[in-house]
Amino acid sequence: MSDALARRGFEPVMLKALGAAFMVFIIAYILIPVLVTLVMSFNDASMIRFPINAWSLKWYQDFFASPQWTDALKSSVIIATGTAILSTVSGILAAWAFERFPIPFKNVLYLLIMLPLFMPGVVLGLGIAMTFGGVQIAGVSIYGSRALVMIAHSLWAMPLVFMLMEATFRTVDYRVVEASYDLGANPLRTFIEIVVPMVSTGVISSALFAFVISLNEFVMALFLTDRDTQTLPVLMWLSLRSAGTPRLAVASVILALTVFACLALILVWYVRQLRKVSRN
């Protein structure tokens, strides 16, 4: 009897301890590479190598003084912004149509929309590069342009936005939409004034997810950019092969910080909405 009781007391403690240990392991697993990169970015030496003998901000200075690196950062941000806009708008519209209207072969269509997400980046990148390799519009080469990379990245970002927003739209109380029609607002007005604000958390999250996906993407960008439009991950890859200076670590830190900032924004917005809903 007491034996059984003791065991019952013991098991939860054991489980809790194991759970905690596992969590620590996961956090360490995720954080250690980031922390190593962070530490390395303050290295004074000109090689990525431990031990670190002297600390300095010199590689940060170097990063921001180099037009090549700041241009790559600028390229990354422009492409990510474009991707976010493109995939958020198209993904939201597709999801709303999907949720609202009877569409034939919905399941097949759903798979079709999600398909690019499962395609290897190499396949998409190479395919797009071959397709648009020599194409020019009004004398401007499509290949190597940022617009092409935005569209390519949207292949991955749009399905994610679509998936997220489709689930979000399902939570919309349709009576509220009807109430808006009832009071004289046409469908467009209703969508902009009533539906979108009701799903603002979903919109912000999917836009930032799209932004992050594009920022992180490397393979397609490698296939589709040239010297003038290369993104930060591409430049990092290329310069790793020539000279592995701590400048690379600085670039990593900046990329990682941007991603963290986006996640933080999503969280802040989410908490704000939660508070709004349960204001009393």
Binding site: R175, E178, A179, S180, D182, G184, A185, P197, M198, K276
Partner: protein, 349 residues
């Protein structure tokens, strides 16, 4: 005709697949009239309302508002305003913004808009709540905002879609009184959908009783109650006992053929019939003396319901219940006389 009706339904029909939800419904609402669609769930009352609001499409018939056909128009082009069961307030807009919405859509300009918002909130007694969000309001307050939002646009007709059914009883009674007061003051035209008889009786100028997509009877509440047009209306409105009897020659029996001590002033038609009487109209024991119709039955059990005692009686296979103010001093198992006036009884074959 054009000036005299706020809303007119003419042979309106709506099917969902093979189910006829609204079947050949015709109804005219005069300006300032408060008409209730009353019926059990699935009787087509909400579908009828949604057809008027434009949320369902008509299969046949016509809908006119102030004489003009509107059944081809989308909801946002119709001069109707619906108060939904859930209130359906815009959650991210304040009370004032909710009320302003319809006015903005109708391009009512600033000073007048503010004035009408103030009036509407005044009417529903929610002054000072302008800056609250719906999540900060109680259920009753939400419905009052919904009402203000619809009243503010001054539609040709207000459509109520069971607006009180989600509220608890005391709040329901209070809001019911308030809607009635508003109607008396403002004289708006309205169609009110409910499955609650007392709501329908208390508020309406006229009641339309619906069943299986059809209107069974449209009349003033008193007429509906006292002079029901058919068996459905009689049984649906108020309480009633049903006596299933069989008549062959001069013998009256229950459906099993067992003789019962039933005496009626007018003879029944040959064969099976159903006799309906309201329990409040049945007289017991000494009070039953001298009434033209009577039945002798055994007391099966007695329920105390507060104001009245309800006597459940049995005679053969017949079961009736009679309400009597106070106990009558008979016990379970005793034989008792029941009597009623002829005008309180209905016979259907």
């Amino acid at each position: 005709m054009t000036e005299r009706t706020a809303l007119e339904l003419e042979n309106v029909r709506r099917c969902f697949g093979s189910v006829v939800a609204v079947d050949d419904v015709s109804l005219a609402v005069a300006p300032g009239e408060f008409v209730t669609l009353l019926g059990p769930s699935g009787s087509g009352k909400t579908s009828t309302l949604r057809l008027i609001g434009g949320f369902e499409e008509l299969d046949a018939g016509a809908i006119r508002i102030k004489g003009e056909r509107i059944d081809h128009l989308p909801p946002y082009r119709r001069d109707t305003a619906t108060i939904f069961q859930s209130g359906a307030l815009f959650p991210h807009k304040t009370v004032a913004e909710n009320v302003a919405y319809g006015l903005r859509m109708r391009k009512v300009e600033r000073p007048e808009r503010d004035e009408r918002i103030r009036q509407a909130l005044d009417i529903v007694r929610l002054q000072g709540y302008e800056d609250r969000y719906p999540s900060q309001l109680s259920g009753g307050q939400k419905q009052r905002v919904a009402l203000a939002r619809s009243l503010a646009v001054r539609p040709a007709i207000l459509l109520f879609d069971e607006p009180l059914s989600a509220l608890d009883l005391s709040l329901r009674l209070q809001l019911r009184g308030e809607i009635k007061r508003l109607h008396d003051e403002l004289k708006f035209s309205a169609i009110y959908v409910t499955h609650d008889q007392s709501e329908a009786m208390a508020m309406s100028s006229r009641v339309a009783v619906m069943n299986k997509g059809r209107i069974e009877q449209v009349d003033r509440p008193e007429k509906i109650f006292h002079d029901p047009a058919n068996e459905f209306v009689f049984t649906f409105i108020g309480e009633s006992c049903c006596l299933l009897v069989r008549c062959s020659g001069t013998d009256v029996t229950d459906r099993n053929g067992q003789a019962i001590a039933l005496s009626l002033r007018d003879s029944l038609p040959e064969g099976d019939s159903r006799l309906y009487i309201r329990p409040s109209r049945l007289k017991l024991a000494a009070e039953a003396q001298g009434l033209p119709n009577g039945l002798t039955a055994t007391i099966h059990f007695i329920e105390f319901l507060g104001d009245v005692h309800r006597y459940h009686l049995k005679a053969g296979a017949l079961e009736v219940f009679a309400d009597h103010a106070g106990a009558i001093g008979h016990d379970v198992g005793a034989l008792i006389d029941v009597g009623w006036r002829s005008e309180d009884m209905r016979v259907f074959r």
